[in-house]
């Protein structure tokens, strides 16, 4: 694994954030299985190194846009468990007062412009956020997360063209987890994903999305260059989702084998790999790591408890926030 100049605290922060994502998802999945969560949700487990490697290269004022599989991005960009679980359960204290839910969770305090239930739906938004940075002269960079499946949406090519023409500080981060829903990437993506970006004059890189340091090191470089006006950039991050497409997708053998899942989980898990590296490099001891894990676990359990007992928004909120200047749209 590539060694970098980041210091111990940064390494531990990356580890903690990956564990926080995994733990968040385990709890969310349990809430679903226990029929305590409304609707469905998409688990990020297995892909933690992507969100963390990238978001740890960003400032709070940098922006991200996220996807239907958005919990990982949200945590990685700095969100708190309590407001997240409240949102997943439709409670008033959620980031979006329960109005958005898992597929629309946003955390503007940390620059997360929101998950999106339209595949590819946030590609324009991310590019527009970069447009703002350029127009207002801030040096913020925006990262646009999307999946391999989303590369089929024409919107991507429209906005990459403009981002390239206008040199916008945006990084397109394609999380290639091998599948879109129940279909293998090869069946829905002709040619080469990175070549598509390059054809628009955009520098593109393919990177091991299970290696948090590799992701982080590369992203740091690109972010620095984007801040200087050398963007846009494109990243294809090779990764894997451990769960089904959504929590209800249990029988997966008709589209992928148990062996394949096992191989990724056992041999390429981003947390296990990074943990091993931290220990072998003497950055943390097994005990310290276990303590961190336990702390995160407890944090999550408390947040879940809190959220389960938190109150729903008052029904009078139903016609609030339709328009920013009209308190109740239907009054």
């Amino acid at each position: 694994m590539a060694k970098t100049k980041t210091n111990t605290e940064d390494y531990l922060q990356m580890y903690r954030q990956m564990v926080r994502i995994r733990t968040f998802e385990d709890n969310a999945n349990k809430l679903y299985l226990d029929a305590k969560m409304p609707g469905l949700t998409h688990m990020y487990s297995g892909e933690e190194a992507v969100a963390v490697g990238i978001c740890e290269a960003l400032k709070v004022t940098d922006k991200i846009t996220s996807t239907h599989r958005g919990h990982g991005h949200c945590v990685a960009k700095g969100a708190a468990f309590k407001e997240m679980f409240c949102e997943l359960l439709g409670k008033e204290e959620g980031y979006c007062r329960g109005k958005g839910g898992s597929m629309h969770i946003a955390d503007q305090s940390n620059g997360n412009l929101g998950a999106n239930a339209i595949v590819g739906g946030s590609m324009g938004i991310a590019t527009g956020s970069a447009f703002t940075a350029k127009m207002l002269g801030t040096d913020d960079v925006t990262v646009c997360f999307f999946g391999d499946g989303a590369t089929a949406q024409g919107l991507l090519y429209e906005v990459m063209n403009m981002a390239a023409l206008w040199k916008l500080p945006v990084i397109y981060a394609c999380e290639n987890n091998g599948y879109s829903e129940y279909t293998r990437t090869e069946e829905i993506a002709a040619g080469s994903i990175t070549a598509r970006a390059e054809a628009f004059g955009i520098e593109a890189h393919q990177v091991d999305g299970q290696d948090v340091l590799a992701v982080n090191t590369l992203t740091q470089k690109l972010v620095a260059r984007a801040r200087k006006g050398e963007g846009p950039f494109f990243l294809e991050l090779m990764t894997y989702r451990y769960h089904g497409h959504h929590v209800g997708d249990i029988n997966r053998e008709y589209y992928r084998t148990k062996d394949e899942e096992k191989d990724w989980k056992e041999n390429r898990d981003p947390i296990i790999r990074f943990r091993g590296w931290l220990v072998s490099e003497g950055i943390a001891s097994e005990d310290e790591i276990e303590a961190m894990n336990a702390e995160v676990r407890q944090d999550a359990e408390q947040a879940v408890d809190y959220a389960l007992n938190a109150k729903y928004p008052d029904v009078s909120e139903v016609d609030m926030h339709v328009y920013s200047d009209i308190k109740h749209a239907l009054a």
């Binding site: 409304p38 499946g149 909120e317 139903v318 339709v322």
Partner: protein
């Protein structure tokens, strides 16, 4: 008569028509092995192969456009749009191309295409996966719009749609896929533009579309217990609209409520109410009432979502008011 689910009814309709006519094929995301997330198409790829049950990348404008071109040149595509909310993505291909081609070519080109999609909230799927967008397409000349209210209609209308030489949009209620209804073994078709009187009555006419037919029927049951005899009518297609049957009923009952799950303002209920007002004005004892979904994006939180759609109790309450001569809203 045997009972089958709405999902099975659609599946049967497709299978029968694909057997009858080799030019019929299905195109959309995860329609083949996965049979769509709602599993409606399960088994079809086994019978008809991947040449006629065609999995696409996540590119709605693209595969809709391909379907339009395929339809123009001699095949009969059934486009599977996973969620009705994605109709926004294909509006150009549907409304600028498919809907207008026959007219713009002076009748020389046809677009025999079926767009199957869905509607319906209260599935905790939030604002981008819960919309009922039938009003948008009903507004566009050149499109026909069918809204099946049970497995029986779903099968009969689908078969008619596939044999129609014009573009037809069918909205299935995604909450009804597992609902069973009697469906004959023998082949049948339901002609477009023929409303169905679901229940006869003399006091008030309840006109419901799709999901709202059940709501109207339940309201009628409540009202019957109170001695109010409601007539329940299902237009089955909103384009063409069977005005004659609606007007006949309203001329008899002198009162009407129109119920549809799309947003109320500038929605389907406005058109139906307007036609009744215009053409049966002198028979009306009270204004025609409209009940659509609340004019708010669909909220995720169950506490809020449930109040956004018409309910049997709400319909019954409005019916009582109309019956009691209460001059609603009138100054």
């Amino acid at each position: 008569m045997r009972e089958i689910t709405l999902s099975q009814a659609v599946n049967e309709a497709l299978a029968e028509e694909m057997r009858r006519d080799e030019r019929v094929f299905i195109i959309g995301e995860d329609v083949a092995e996965a049979g769509t997330p709602f599993k409606v198409l399960a088994g079809l790829v086994e019978e008809f192969g991947t040449g006629r049950v065609v999995d696409t990348p996540i590119a709605e404008p693209g595969f809709m456009g391909i379907a339009v071109g395929a339809a123009m040149t001699g095949t009969r595509p059934v486009v599977d749009l996973m969620f009705g909310d994605f109709i926004y993505l294909i509006m150009d291909q549907l409304c600028n191309q498919a809907a207008k081609t026959h007219y713009m070519s002076g009748g020389k080109l046809n677009v025999p295409l079926v767009l199957r999609t869905n509607l319906g909230a209260t599935r905790r799927s939030a604002a981008q996966h819960s919309q009922s967008l039938q009003a948008l397409v009903a507004h566009i000349p050149g499109l026909k719009v069918a809204m099946p209210s049970s497995a029986y209609e779903a099968k009969g209308l689908m078969k008619t749609a596939i044999r129609d030489d014009n573009p037809v949009v069918i909205f299935e209620d995604k909450l009804m896929y597992q609902d069973k209804a009697p469906v004959p073994e023998e082949e049948y078709l339901i002609p477009f533009g023929e409303a169905n009187i679901k229940r006869e009555g003399t006091d008030i006419t309840l006109i419901g579309t799709s999901s709202m037919v059940q709501v109207a029927e339940k309201a009628a049951e409540i009202l019957a217990r109170e001695g109010i005899e409601a007539e329940v009518i299902d237009p089955r297609t909103i384009v063409p609209l069977d005005e004659a049957t609606l007007l006949k009923s309203v001329r008899k009952t002198s009162r009407a409520i129109v119920i549809d799950e799309g947003h109320q303002s500038y929605g389907v209920t406005a058109e139906i109410a307007s036609r009744i007002n215009e053409k049966a004005f002198y028979h009306l004892d009270a204004p025609v009432l409209r009940m659509g979904a609340m004019d708010v994006p669909v909220p995720f939180s169950p506490a809020l979502e449930d109040v956004t759609v018409p309910t049997p109790e709400g319909v019954a309450e409005n019916a009582r008011r109309l019956m009691s001569g209460e001059m609603i809203h009138a100054a």
